[in-house]
């Protein structure tokens, strides 16, 4: 079977470039406009993407002055999009630090049922004190503790999703028996962070449970991904770094006793597409010209855990930045930014320009052929199973990718030309439906005793 690219559309209000909302074409209210997202979802479906995805954090950034802030709650928005689409997977970010397993497991099961098996969960632990203070805490929990809680959260969620066997409903009207109580398995979980006694109040969903997605690239994050994730979003700046990450994650997954084909690695790319290279560069420059650098400096200072005023716009990063191990927030993103600035000897102003597009994700700027070439290189050279497509401006950047890059990928045999029959999200990603932990699996194929009969 031909290996195909897996494409995910990472949707974000007016686009991933921080200045995108200032362009004449952009709707500054797009972040709360269902019609905007319906249009994007249908465009991604026209491009036969595997899935679309919404990032999230349960807090408002400190200033709304800079750019569109806030967003519709992802599970709510994806439920609405489920009714407006037919094939595309729907991946919502949700935090293990600021949800309870019972409520969240139920919401994902409900979305999976309503969408006919198209739900995915981007599992995040949520860095930052702002979020913590919205949930009764004074400061953010330590990185390792957030991951310990995430592991237990997922364990409980899996118990809840498996608390109904697939055939627990017998619906015997004549006997007056609706369900088989022997096929209901209450978790009776008592752990460090959670106690959850009873079975979920939703039957097992089409996929069993949502596709498990993960996006942390720290040590804790990679360990978690190797154990649990079925798709991984990652930020990589060079094909060499991406290959190293890919090989590392696949081998970690194998060491956890899992099939390395059952974890799909999707680096993020910001495709800035133009009909000529010059046109693409001009578009990139137009976006960069709209960056408000004072905002960018403040944002970078927060990301690097520096005091306000610590950075000089026209100087390089200071030499005495702390190591990643001292960072409790978004560890791997921290390292990526520092390495990018040092490798390319960027001033703070230049760094802000480079980060403006994708916050650390790679920007590909060029013609459709050049973008398709880059995608093909990464895909065929062991750096990616597919891509997390992060258009700099929405909707136009997704239109450009689907109308001009997708046909090239199809012509090269790298991407499906149509969806074919309805599939679950897990089937689109080439993954098996998970067995229920309470149901012994049948051997896939018993050895045939044919030779004895010859």
């Amino acid at each position: 079977m031909t290996r195909h690219l897996h494409l995910n559309a990472f949707l974000m209000s007016t686009g991933h470039h921080e200045a995108s909302w200032r362009l004449p074409e952009s709707d500054p209210y797009a972040h709360v406009d269902l019609a905007h997202y319906v249009r994007l979802a249908r465009t991604a479906e026209r491009g036969t993407f595997d899935s679309l995805f919404l990032a999230d954090g349960p807090q408002l950034w400190s200033s709304v002055g800079q750019r569109p802030a806030g967003a519709l709650e992802p599970l709510t928005l994806l439920t609405a999009l489920a009714t407006a689409t037919e094939h595309i997977g729907l991946i919502a970010t949700a935090s293990t630090s600021y949800n309870s397993p019972y409520n969240l497991a139920r919401k994902f099961a409900s979305l999976d049922i309503i969408s006919g098996g198209r739900a995915g969960w981007n599992i995040v632990t949520t860095a930052g004190a702002e979020a913590a203070r919205n949930f009764g805490l004074d400061a953010e929990p330590a990185h390792a503790e957030r991951y310990a809680r995430a592991a237990e959260f997922l364990d409980v969620a899996l118990k809840l999703w498996d608390s109904w066997e697939d055939d627990a409903i017998v619906a015997d009207k004549a006997a007056g028996v609706w369900g088989d109580d022997a096929k209901i398995h209450p978790p009776r979980h008592k752990g460090t962070y959670f106690s959850v006694e009873g079975a979920l109040n939703v039957p097992r969903s089409p996929q069993g449970y949502p596709l498990l997605v993960q996006a942390g690239s720290s040590e804790d994050g990679k360990r978690f991904a190797a154990r649990h994730a079925e798709a991984v979003f990652t930020a990589q700046q060079t094909v060499e770094d991406a290959r190293a990450f890919y090989a590392d994650l696949k081998s970690r997954t194998a060491r956890e006793g899992r099939n390395p084909d059952h974890i799909k690695v999707l680096p993020g790319i910001v495709p800035v597409v133009g009909s000529t290279e010059a046109e693409a560069r001009a578009h990139e420059q137009e976006l960069e010209d709209h960056i408000v650098h004072t905002h960018g400096v403040a944002h970078l200072e927060r990301l690097l855990h520096l005091e306000p005023g610590a950075l000089d716009l026209d100087a390089p990063l200071p030499d005495d930045l702390p190591p990643e191990s001292a960072i409790e927030g978004a560890k791997s993103r921290y390292t990526l930014i520092v390495r990018l600035a040092r490798r390319e000897r960027l001033t703070v102003r230049q760094l802000i320009g480079r980060l403006g597009g994708g916050r650390g994700h790679l920007t590909f700027t060029g013609t459709p052929e050049q973008v398709a070439d880059a995608v093909e290189t990464w895909f065929t050279q062991g750096a990616a199973d597919g891509f997390n497509i992060m258009p700099p401006v929405l909707p136009s950047g997704l239109d450009a990718f689907v109308d001009h890059v997708v046909p090239l990928l199809r012509a090269r045999g790298l991407l499906r030309t149509e969806y074919g029959p309805r599939q679950t999200l897990r089937e689109r990603y080439g993954l098996p439906r998970p067995a229920n932990q309470h149901v012994p699996e049948l051997p896939a194929a018993l050895p045939q005793p044919s030779s004895a009969l010859v």
Copy 2:
């Protein structure tokens, strides 16, 4: 302006009668079938109902043997229904005991935005140890504590919904200023049950916040309703009881300094409709014949806080039941059931038959004219501002009400004949849009100094 009935469609899988799922027409998988609910919602919209409503509790009842158990999570299902309807309000039940204010406030704001101002929140405190044990507690919190937490929860939620002024988004592309930070008001709430620091990450929604609905009729429940609720669901067995409840709640509301017209009282009714009275009675009997009495006894024993085996099917209720004040669960429902059994001298078997339709809500059995007469009597005699319609069987019971009772109510001038222009749910219920607590209200109409000029 003519006073019109407010109708709410209380949707529940195959219907409100506990045996409804056993009828030949019923789909035992209806509880997780979006198409079933879309059909019901569109039928209610054909009947120009104000709203539809989903009950909920975050637990699975102990046995799935008896009847369809579990449900799609209400906010998820209502989001999907928002995209399939245009006018009808969408009221979700959600618990103040087992949610966090930040997450829940955001979900309701998102639904309100996606639906164009049609969201409502049925505020419940969630009785029962089963739910408590799914959220890390050993036993259910005491009734009074649940209500204290509910009051603080609502206070925080209102602060979150008001944390953006309506005109906080300025969208000045030229200046690069998206929002006005002076119009963002972080709650900075530190209370007994919750600490919530930051502003919501969704702008203020079309209604400001969802319609606030309440359904507890205990002392704590009525006090909460008088202070906060804009619509109240209640179970009343006689017009006299309903009138007393109505008068009491309106006067409590006035004593809280609120306009008593701004709380709408909607008793629940289970309309068993037939083209003749005999046909309606036969339908009721068919349903009663499908009740499995052993299940009914067990359920009644739980409701009355009795040991298993305490009730005798063919005897009346025991004399020595505890008073309502000793009940920590659903207090007012307890009293209603005991009073019903004693007033009508019912055996346990007869009581189970009477409760089978609406779990304590009044069953009206008769022709469309008889049902319309009863509705009109309650509505015009100070017992109701409208009704919570609880069809015994779905979809057929809602079809019968909309096709045969609704035209009579319209002909009598009691119900709107069409929706007219799009309105928010609060406008449908004749309620004003709530002001933002951070914005001083302008005087409605300044006294005109006209006489001085004469």
